[in-house]
Symmetry: C4
Subunit: 215 residues, 4 copies
C-alpha cells in the first residue's frame, strides 16, 4: 500500500468537514451529543480506506469545517496531502474513530454516526442480549419489512480497547440492521451516505424510545 498515492486531497477533506460539522450540530441540537460526546464520519476512499471523522474533545454543536481528521482502517490519523494544520490546533481523532473505520470496512457503509442517547443506554440495560422488534412500520426506514420479520438491534458489551470492540461488533452485528448499541455507552448507526446514516440513527433511536415507552 502506497499511502501517498491514495491520500484524499485537501479539498475533499474540507468538503467533508463542512457537512460533518453541520451534521454533528444537528445531532447536538437534539441533546444526543452532550458534553463532547459522539462523532460522525464519512468515507473518503475505499482503497485504501480513508474516513473523515469529527475531532475528539470538542463541543459537537460548535465544530467548524476544519474540525475533522482523516483516519485509516485502524483509526490512526493520516496526514492530509499538502494541508498542514496550524500547530496551534492539533486535532486528534477520538479512539472511537477506529470503530467508525471498522464499521465502514466491515459493512461497506459510506457514513457512520455515533451518538450518546439516554434511550440507547437504557435499552441496552433493559435488553442486554439485544432489542427485538417486529411488525412496526418504522422498521421499513432501516430496510426491514413492516410485517413478518423479527429483527434484533444488537447490544455489544463496551470496551476501551477498540480492537476488542471491533471484534465484538463483527460477531454481534446483523446484516439486516444498520445499527448497534454499545452497552452503557451509546448508539452506532450507518448508511450508504451521510443522509442515510442520519435517517438510520433517527429511526433506531425512535424505535428504542418506543420500546422503552411500552415497557
Amino acid at each position: 500500500m502506497t499511502a501517498k498515492q491514495g491520500e484524499p486531497d485537501p479539498r475533499a477533506v474540507r468538503d467533508a468537514g463542512a457537512v460533518l460539522s453541520a451534521e454533528a450540530a444537528r445531532f447536538a441540537s437534539f441533546g444526543w451529543m452532550r458534553g463532547t460526546s459522539g462523532n460522525v464520519s464519512l468515507v473518503l476512499s475505499r482503497d485504501p480506506l480513508r474516513l473523515a471523522v469529527t475531532v475528539s474533545a470538542r463541543d459537537k454543536g460548535e465544530l467548524t469545517g476544519a474540525d475533522v481528521v482523516v483516519v485509516d482502517v485502524k483509526g490512526s490519523a493520516v496526514p492530509i496531502d499538502g494541508a498542514a494544520r496550524p500547530a496551534s490546533a492539533p486535532s486528534a481523532p477520538s479512539a472511537e474513530a477506529a470503530l467508525h473505520a471498522h464499521i465502514a470496512s466491515v459493512t461497506g457503509a459510506g457514513a457512520v454516526v455515533h451518538v450518546h442517547t439516554v434511550a440507547a443506554v437504557a435499552a441496552g440495560w433493559h435488553w442486554p442480549s439485544g432489542v427485538e422488534l417486529e411488525g412496526i412500520e418504522m422498521l421499513k426506514g432501516i430496510g426491514v419489512p413492516a410485517e413478518g420479520v423479527r429483527v434484533t438491534i444488537p447490544v455489544i458489551p463496551n470496551s476501551q480497547d477498540m480492537r476488542i470492540l471491533g471484534e465484538r461488533f463483527e460477531r454481534a452485528r446483523r446484516p439486516q440492521v444498520p445499527a448497534a448499541i454499545v452497552a452503557s455507552h451509546g448508539l452506532y448507526a450507518w448508511g450508504s451516505d451521510l443522509e442515510q446514516a442520519r435517517h438510520h440513527t433517527e429511526i433506531v433511536e425512535w424505535l428504542l424510545e418506543l420500546a422503552l415507552a411500552a415497557v
Copy 2:
C-alpha cells in the same frame, strides 16, 4: 372523467409545495417525522379529486417547494399540466398517498397530516380497540364538547395494502373525530384546511401523551 381538463395548473402545485414543505419542516422539528417518515397533503380540486402530497424518501425537514407530487383518488401520480419535472429529480408519491386521498375523499377534508409519533404507536398498543376520551377541555379543539361526550380515537390495524387500509379506515372512523391511529405505525389527522389539520394533529397527539401519562 377527462383528466386533462381537470388538472391543477403548475402554479397551484407550486403554491401547495411551498406551504406543504414548510408545514412538514414544522412537524419534523417536533421529532414527529424521524427518518423520512410522515407526509402532508393538500386538496387541489374535488372533481376530479387531486391532492398535492409531499414526496417519499426525502428528509421532511429539508423539502423544497418542488418536493410535492399530485395524486388522484387512488394515490397514483398525475402529471402536472405543462410542468415537466427534470429527469434528474423523479419524485414519487409514497404508497401512503393513497390513504391521504382516501381520507380526503371519504371525510371531505381539505388537508391531511400523517406523522410518526412515539405516543401514537404506544397508545395504539395500550388501547388496541381505540383510545377513549371524555371531559377534557382540549377535546373542543377537535370539535368535541368538553363535557358529557365520550369519543374514541380509532385504532386501525396496519397494512401494506392501501386498499385494505382504506377499507379499515372507513369501517373504523368516527365522524366526530378528525384523526385515526394506524397501529404500530403512526397518526393521521385532517381538517378543512392545512391549518386546521395541523391543529387537529397537535391536539390529538397532546391527548395521547396525556392519556399515556395518566396510565
Copy 3:
C-alpha cells in the same frame, strides 16, 4: 362608569399586542399552546378594568400585534377608541377572557397566562384536591419560602360557564400561590407584570413536572 372616558387608546393596545403575541409565541414554542389553545393577557387600566388578551381560534405561535382584543371585567369585548378593525379580521375574545379578567380583578395581577400543559392536567388528575408542595427551592420563585411553609396549587373543577369557573376560582385560590390548575383543562398563572406572570407559569409547570416525576 363612563366607558368612553376610560377606554385605552389604540397605541397602548398596539403595544400590548406586540408583547402579548411575542409572549404567546414563546409559550407555543414549548408545546404549551398546542392547537389554538391558551391565551395571554395584560391589564391596560384598573378603573375601569380593561385587559388586552390574545384572540381566540388562532395559532398562538403565529399571532401578530393586531391579534388582541380588549375586554372588560366580564370578558366582553370593548371597542378600541378610534381603532376600527378591518371587517375581514373580526377578532373575538375567547370565553376564557372572562376568567383572565376575573383573576386580574380578584388578585390585582397585571398580567395573566393560560397554558394547556400535559403536566397540569395530569397533576390535576393525580391530586384532585390540590398539589401540595413544601421545601423546594424553586418555590421562592413564586414568593414562597423554601423551608417550613406548605403550599397547595389549587385544582378547580372545569366548567364551560365562566361565571361558575370564576366563583370556583375565588373559593379555591390561595393568596400565597399565583397559579391554579383547572382540572382536565390547563394552568393559569399571573403576576404583577407580564414577565412575572411568565416566570410564575414556568415555575409552577416545573414544580408539577417534578411532582409527577417523583410519583
Copy 4:
C-alpha cells in the same frame, strides 16, 4: 489585601458578561433555568478571588453582557474599577453567588454553572445519600474511567444560609466529581473554564436522566 490593586478592569468584566449571558441563554433554552433560576460564573482573578456572576432575578434567557456582577470569595459585590453602573440598573448578585465563589475557591475551578433541572431534584430525592454510578462511558467526560471505578454524585441538604451550604459542600464533595446536587434545589457543576463547566453540567444531567430512566 488591598482591594483596589487587585480589582478586575471593566473590560475583563464586560468580556465575561458577554460569554456568561450567552452561556446562560444556552442553558435557559434547555429549560434548565425556568423562572429566573440558575446562574453562571467565571473566575476573573485568583488572588484576591474575583468572580463575574450573572445577576439575580432576571430572565436567564434574556441577559445582556451588562447583567453580571463581580463578587469576592464571600459572594459580596465588589465595585468594578471605574465602571460606574447607571443607577437605574442596580444589579445584585444572587445569594447563591457565595456558593459559586466557595466552589471556585475550594476546587480551583475557573467557572461554575448552577441549573435547576427536574432530574437533579428528582435524583436527589431518590438517592438522598448520593447518586452512585459505575461503568458508564459518559463518565469519561467528567474525568472518571468508564470501567472499574464507582463514583458518587454527592447530594447536599439545601440551606438558605450560604455559609452552612458551603460547609456542607466541603464535607460532601468528591474530588473525582466536578458536580454536586443540592437537594430539593438543583445542580452545581464546575470546570477549569466555562466550556468544561458546561460539558460537566451536560454530562452529569445526562447521567441523572439515565439513572432515573433505569429506576
